[in-house]
């Protein structure tokens, strides 16, 4: 290596490339807020509904349309709860406020804190399904053996495009206790 010039130039190139590598590492972490941002703008994954609780929307009821709302619930990873759903489906008018409740029972012998994650199918309807009260807005803790009604109040926005006639609201109930892993 008699020639020292390329070495000096190599230093600059390798620093640039190293900087690119570190920058991409940062970009990997920047993807977390970016991803959440994209999801909340587009309403994919129902993340918007968990984060954005709607104000009470007082609007005229559109009595010409009837939307079928289906309810679904899943207990994640063997959560020892029992969920009694409201009737599997109800028909509602857009703009009309509805209140229903889920009854949850803790079947285990210790208190469990649960977060319910909502999802709307089709996801395009997510932004039109406005929840004013929901047990999914915060975690729910049930003592051992406790049973409780959990309320949900929603109104479907009148602007819901015509092609959506059925909306499925599904909840996944997840144990927030991480130590069990």
């Amino acid at each position: 290596m008699s020639d020292h010039k390329p070495q000096a130039k190599g230093k600059k190139t390798s620093l640039i490339l190293g900087g690119l590598g570190i920058g991409m590492f940062a970009f990997g972490f920047a993807l977390v807020p970016l991803y959440n941002l994209v999801c909340s703008i587009s309403g994919i994954n129902g993340i918007a509904t968990a984060a954005n609780r709607s104000e009470v929307v007082m609007s005229q009821v559109d009595t010409d349309r009837l939307i079928t709302v289906e309810f679904d619930s899943t207990l994640n990873d063997g959560l020892p709860w029992k969920i009694e759903k409201p009737p599997a489906k109800i028909k509602v008018h857009p703009g009309e406020m509805h209140q229903i409740s889920y009854r949850a029972t803790n079947l285990s012998n210790k208190a469990i804190k649960v977060q319910a994650i909502p999802g709307i199918t089709p996801w395009q309807a997510t932004e039109y399904f406005n929840k004013t009260v929901c047990f999914c807005f915060e975690t729910q803790t049930l003592e051992a053996g406790e049973s409780r009604e959990m309320d949900l109040q929603f109104v479907i926005n009148r602007d819901l495009p015509e092609e959506y006639k059925t909306i499925t609201l599904s909840y996944t109930f997840m144990n927030t206790d991480r130590s069990r892993i």
Binding site: M1, S2, D3, P6, Q7, K9, G10, T13, S14, L17, G18, L20, G21, I22, G23, M24, F25, F27, G28, F29, L31, V32, Y35, N36, C39, S42, I44, N45, I47, A50, N76, D77, V114, Q115, I117, W123, Q124, T172, M174, N175, T176, R178, I181
Partner: protein, 536 residues
């Protein structure tokens, strides 16, 4: 076709190699480090192959015979990680180390000490990878790593301590390959001999320029992803835990942002090798060399932005899936152009069929087949049917084994005379070629059918209706695995002795290229080109 000045006699008086283990431990010599990379890759090839053979033995007939489901999944995870990170990437880096300084007329790599570090991280990472499997046999360490190489949460958050070993393995491997990539790109940018302009570079050098850039851009993102996984596992964060406001699908995006370009990291060096071998044995200059370089650039750029075609079933919007589908299908254009330019290079050439060329032609045939199944899988409605089936397994093995592994074998046969100074036994080479390609096809061709019929991947057992296809696959798999013993034998025999190789053992190797590496003796002196050759 340029003349380079040879300084062999000039070397003699300071060609003192270090001796003993220090020569290897503290090596800053690109050839020695290249050799160590290649030996490491060869060891990993046998480890990864052994795990694959256990999988094939298990799948020989329906039912659970040899391994339990968790061990099976652990083995298939290790098979993928060993082959991708332990075998193909180090082998590619080893060849880059060996050949690129000689091809561009440089005395060594730009950053020789960094080179030493990036190699010696690998054995540590390899040990950690093996530990990730062993540790689950100790009590209290939880389940084995049973996620597959994609490490999707929530399963990867729940699996046992082996996953932590694996996460640190990926960190070390990532650092190693980023450092190696920085080194190689810096070498190509700064260390070219006078007169070695960009468009005189052999295609292999170009391919590594793009590979290096890809590695620098994608490995950190994977490292970030597995770091988040580590935090979710131990420090109470919720990057991927829905209960805490995270999203497991985010990990899939992070993984495939790395994972799809990774395919080109594995593929491009072999395309570069083909760009040398096909002209050599067709005795014609490479057809459309400059466009080929641009197609490589296009492939690199497109490859970065189509990752979510691995995730069609996660419930993306129609617009997003349409974009990823069209982008993915577009990729077939630059790849198809590369293959076309190899075919046109052969057209009316004075072809001979030595082992590297046989591999070259077989790669073009079989890799095109992977391209066809790739376009099938890119089409969303079809993919919803094929995904997670053995059709996918067949597709990516046709892409990765001919596309990258056979390319590396071709390179080994092409450069063994240069590396060792001895010719390999051509008859043995040809037997190895036919044995390995035929058994490869016997292994993976039937998997297209079992996949189309609905056999899911990554499952230890299968429905008896798939028994015949799996029987064929397993027989092929055993033959394919055993063929590598011949490969090992050929390499050892060539290293130990054999017919003396001249400086340029291939008649056509200088046609249409600068061919600086062939102006050096075989094997080349310990320090090559301490005075830069002049390229005309």
């Amino acid at each position: 076709m340029s003349e380079a000045t040879i300084h062999d006699d000039h070397h003699d008086h300071h060609d003192h190699k270090p001796t003993g283990i220090g020569r290897w431990l503290f090596s800053t010599n690109h050839k020695d480090i290249g050799t160590m990379y290649l030996i490491f890759a060869l060891v990993m090839l046998f480890l990864g192959g052994a795990s694959a053979m256990v999988l094939r033995m298990e799948l020989f007939m329906p039912g659970i015979q040899i391994v339990d489901p968790d061990t099976y999944n652990n083995l298939l995870t290790n098979h993928a990680l060993i082959m991708v990170f332990g075998m193909v990437m180090p082998a590619g880096a080893g060849m880059a180390n060996w050949m690129i300084p000689m091809m561009i007329g440089a005395p060594d790599m730009a950053l020789p000490r960094l080179n030493n570090l990036s190699f010696w991280l690998l054995p540590m990472a390899g040990t950690m990878l093996i530990l990730s499997m062993v540790v689950s046999y100790f009590p209290g360490t939880g389940t084995p790593v049973n996620t597959g190489w994609t490490l999707y949460p929530p399963l990867s958050v729940q699996s046992g301590m082996g996953m932590d070993f694996l996460i640190f393995t990926i960190h070390i491997l990532g650092i190693s390959s980023i450092l190696a990539a920085i080194n190689i790109v810096t070498t190509i940018v700064n260390m070219r001999a006078p007169g070695m302009t960009w468009f005189k570079l052999p295609l292999f050098v170009w391919s590594w320029l793009f590979t290096g850039l890809l590695l620098i851009m994608i490995m950190p993102v994977l490292a970030g992803g597995v770091t988040m996984l580590l935090f979710d596992r131990h420090f109470g964060t919720s990057f991927f835990d829905a209960a805490g406001g995270g999203d497991p699908v985010l990990f899939q995006h992070l993984f495939w942002f790395f994972g799809h370009p990774e395919v080109y990291v594995l593929l491009l060096p072999s395309i570069g090798v083909l760009g040398l071998i096909i002209p050599t044995f067709s005795r014609k200059p490479l057809f459309a060399y400059k466009p080929l370089v641009w197609f490589m650039a296009a492939l690199t750029a497109l490859g970065m932005v189509v990752w979510a075609h691995h995730q069609y079933t996660i419930g993306m919007s129609l617009n997003a899936t349409t974009y990823f589908m069209i982008g993915t299908i577009l990729i077939s254009i630059p790849v198809g152009m590369m293959l076309m330019s190899f075919i046109f290079t052969m057209w009316r050439g004075a072809m001979t069929f030595e082992t590297p060329m046989l591999f070259g032609i077989a790669i073009i045939l079989m890799f095109s087949f992977a391209g066809v199944t790739g376009v099938m899988l890119a089409v969303v409605p079809a993919d919803l049917q094929y995904h997670d089936s053995y059709f996918v397994v067949a597709h990516f093995h046709y892409a990765l084994i001919p596309g990258s592994v056979f390319g590396l074998y071709a390179a080994v046969f092409y450069w063994l005379p240069k590396w060792t100074g001895h010719m390999y036994n051509e008859t043995h080479g040809k037997i190895f070629f036919w044995w390995t390609t035929l058994s490869f096809n016997l292994t993976f061709f039937p998997q297209h059918f079992s996949g189309l019929a609905g056999m899911p991947r990554r499952i230890v057992d299968y429905s008896p209706q798939f028994a015949d296809f799996n029987y064929l696959s397993s027989v092929g798999g055993m033959l394919f695995g055993l063929s590598h013993l011949l490969f090992l034998y050929i390499i050892i025999k060539t290293v130990k002795g054999g017919e003396k190789a001249p400086a340029n053992p291939w008649e056509g190797s200088m046609i249409g290229t600068t061919g600086l590496e062939w102006t050096l003796s075989s094997p080349p002196p310990f320090h090559s080109f301490s005075t830069p050759p002049s390229v005309k």
